[in-house]
Amino acid sequence: MPTGDGAGPPQRDVVVLTEQPPHIVPLGDRALVVQLGDRIDSGVFQRVRATLQRLSGAHPAIIELVAGFASVTVHYDPAIVGGSTVDTPHATLSRALEQRLADFAGAPPLDARVVEIPVCYSGDLAPDLATVGERAGLSTDQVIALHTGARYTVQMIGFTPGFPYLAGLDPRLVTPRRGEPRTRVPAGSVGIGGEQTGIYPMATPGGWNIVGRTPLAIFDSGREPAALLRVGDEVRFAAISRARFDAMASA
């Protein structure tokens, strides 16, 4: 699990540009990593987003782009890049991507979708809500107000398919991961892990503190696209009653 530094709300109107060329390193023989920084902050994150946008469709050998907190990983087929007697596919593709990223300064500000996620913060759907409150010296109502009052940014999709890592948690809600992970966290559970918050798309083991649950399908393999959220989305949580949760969950 990653650690966060509680990056603030995204600076919507500013794209922080690279001062120096991105650093490209191999990740095995069929992937490479474009490194864009060594910390989690909104400036680095904007560079991740701009890089994703810039590399999308940039080369026929690219199979998939994966955003990290401070990097973009490019999965590729070396056979499509081809090789020469002089250069490996890695060297050839790296050079092509460096050229593609060279004129970063022209990157336009990026559009962010705003997605509202209904969450029921009560009873057995929120087993760790009281723990988070006690740690912070807050009532559960105050915890809910802080959690729903913030704007979050999807910084990464990972762990299990569709799992959004959200930055923007109020510092008062920062809560370390549970000492002993649960063997099963139900799908839709909204958790706090350190300085981040996220949503479990499917029932899996998990160590984050569960403060509520959404009736929305965060990941549905039969839907196009399967993942509800994508990197760069702005997320807001809205509290709903248990009755509303049950109605939406059974709809």
Partner: protein, 281 residues
């Protein structure tokens, strides 16, 4: 898991290399064919028989309607592949026909097969052929696995740096399609390192704090935050997939340049095989 074996088995029956095949781990099923077709076996040797007559890996044979193909226990290797002309008819999910067991989607109803399941085949006009893959083209699998250095490999302490490439590592019983845990050498970094989660890939060798490295396989998570010791060369991923729990595994260093060269050579060989085996000739 052994993608290379599945690709060759598909080529032997005239399929596209990414047609859906059946994968068996350690023990296989008995399959009753309700229509005539052509099948090929790839990967490990599971002592397969067709109506009592043995069928070796890397062979394709025609089956009559009513024939039974039986796979037994793994006698060599860990995973066997059954390719059937036309391919198993399962939907494309996220660009793949594979089953993702942890997510319960993909493949056949997102689950492993059970006795009594009926699978549909894609219609295809396949000549009734018998084929055997030349021995020189059959993948050779050993316990030596070539490893490209990972970013944090230089941070291992001296003892661990040696132990990574020494005899003594073996595949743990706590291994699955997501990853192989390797036991036998508690590896340690000279000092703890703070990592930001970033992408990982099949073949990535991670080092969690326990000191037992994890070799990520087909169902790996997309991102990870543990130090990365290396990446298995793609051409050796099939060999890893054929290792069983308890098997020794011995890493041998390889450069990125050589690993990519071997990959390109293998792809050229497969392309040649594809031309030779394509229907019609």
């Amino acid at each position: 898991m052994d993608v290379h074996a599945a690709r060759i088995a598909n080529l032997l029956v005239g399929n596209a290399e990414d047609a859906a095949v059946l994968e068996s781990t350690l023990a296989g099923p008995a399959l009753l064919f309700m229509q005539a077709t052509v099948v090929a076996l790839g990967g490990g040797d599971f002592g397969a028989t067709v109506d009592g007559e043995s069928l070796a890996p890397w062979h394709a044979i025609p089956l009559r309607a009513g024939a039974t193909l039986t796979l037994g226990n793994a006698q060599r290797g860990c995973r066997a592949y059954v390719a059937i002309a036309g391919g198993v008819n399962v939907p494309l999910v996220l660009g793949s026909r594979s089953t993702f067991l942890p997510g319960r989607f993909g493949g056949f109803e997102g689950r492993g097969l059970r006795a009594g399941d009926v699978l549909a085949l894609n219609d295809v006009a396949t000549p009734s052929v018998r084929r055997a893959l030349a021995a020189s083209l059959q993948p050779m699998h050993g316990n030596e696995i070539r490893l490209i250095a990972g970013e944090q490999q230089p941070l291992l302490d001296e003892r661990s740096g040696n132990a990574l490439f020494a005899a003594g590592l073996q595949v743990s019983a706590r291994s699955d399609r997501m990853g192989y845990r390797l036991e036998g050498a508690a590896l340690q970094l000279r000092a703890p390192v703070e990592m930001l989660s970033a992408a990982v890939t099949i073949g990535t060798l991670q080092l969690p704090p326990s000191g037992e490295p994890i070799l990520l396989m087909a169902d790996h998570q997309t991102t990870g935050g543990y130090p990365v010791l290396g990446h298995v060369a793609t051409v050796d991923l099939g060999a890893v997939a054929q290792l069983r729990p308890g098997d020794p595994i011995r890493f041998v260093p390889i450069s990125l340049e050589e690993a990519q060269q071997l990959y390109l050579e293998r792809e050229r060989t497969l392309a040649a095989l594809r031309r030779v085996l394509s229907f019609p000739p």
